[in-house]
């Protein structure tokens, strides 16, 4: 199924999730690598071009993902999760979106702070909108770096939490995001996979 139900993530939401994960990790690694390239390195210009372009595509993906999220039922949280866990999970999801969009804004400003556009895969160019602020590119650069590490740190905790739910709590949190389980209200395995082996 493409769409979400009240108990399961649909294919589109799952695809959005994993594309985001791959793009974020990829952009982080590419970003760390490219800032230390020497001026005469073959990739000195190409790597930032790719980083910017992928970043814009990821942002478009995030916006579509948000639209999709609001156009779909939200699969209910597992009732085995304590209220504070549910609240925390929800807050972390919101924080992820805020971080992702802030990463786009700060990255965009590094490139466009002095009026240059931001080319995307040689297809089109995002125009500069905010210019004329002293040292905007420096401020945006620092924010971009801090947020990048924050996002990756939060992503790591998010992944560890998923593994904890899978291997320690033995619930279906991770399986749901792999499209392999749903929290069927009538099932005794609603919130817990139980020990089927």
């Amino acid at each position: 199924m493409l769409k979400n139900t009240s108990t399961a993530y649909g294919f589109v939401a799952i695809l959005f999730h994993w594309l985001t994960a791959v793009a974020v990790v990829g952009l982080f690694a590419l970003g760390l690598w490219m800032v230390d390239l020497t001026y005469y390195h073959r990739w000195y210009n190409t790597a930032p071009d790719l980083h910017r372009s992928i970043g814009v595509v990821l942002t478009a993906l995030i916006l579509l993902r948000l639209l999709w999220r609001f156009a779909n039922p939200r699969p209910q949280m597992l009732s085995s999760h304590r209220p504070w866990e549910q609240k925390l999970a929800h807050a972390v999801h919101i924080l992820f979106y805020v971080l992702l969009l802030s990463m786009f804004v700060s990255g965009y400003l590094i490139t466009t702070a002095k009026g240059q556009g931001l080319p995307v895969f040689d297809l089109f160019s995002l125009p500069a909108v905010v210019t004329g602020i002293d040292n905007l590119e420096d401020i945006a650069g620092e924010i971009h770096e801090i947020l990048a590490f924050t996002l990756i740190g939060l992503g790591a905790l998010h992944g560890l939490a998923a593994l904890k739910h899978h291997f320690i709590d033995r619930d279906i949190t991770l399986l749901r995001m792999l499209g392999r389980a749903s929290a069927d209200a009538s099932s005794p395995f609603l919130t817990n996979r139980g020990d089927t082996k």
Partner: protein, 197 residues
Amino acid sequence: MKRLLGSVVTVVALSGSLLASSAAWAEKYIIDTEGMHAFVQFRVKHLGFSWLYGRFNDFSGEFNFDPQKPESNRISLEIDTTSLDSNHAERDKHLRSSDFLNAEKFPKATFESTAYKPTGDKTAQVVGNLTLHGVTRPVTIDVEHIGGGKDPWGGHRQGFEGRAVIKPNEFGIKMVEQLGPAAGEVELFLTVEGIRK
């Protein structure tokens, strides 16, 4: 009248010989950064293929100028290195970073002249100490007196253009290693118009 008297008293107190000729005391000029009739620019070769021009937008300074007593001519200049502007946000950010100017750690560059040596009717060599990237070294600026006198608004102005060639590597900035041998020398253009105090 009171101000004039004060000046006369000061001059008498300082030196009787100066009183003999009113033109003989060194006149102090403030560099007109308010009306921005002054420019601190540089150029450096890109790959050895072309000249890249940039400037520092924020600086201040003053000079003494007396055509009768050139040995008393002097200039001091303070430049805000975070205001580097090469009309490209990403490049400006990089040039200000610790790879080059390290503007966060060394936000000021200064020049203090130590000698003024006329070389012709309108030309001179200004010798002084340039502090850049936390390193102070002697630098010689070839100066041309462009013109001066009464301005249309009741003031007095004098204008100069100076050119100096520096090797950033001597100031601890690894230009050659990072940008290639053609970038080893940077030309500085100091264009100043001063308004007499």
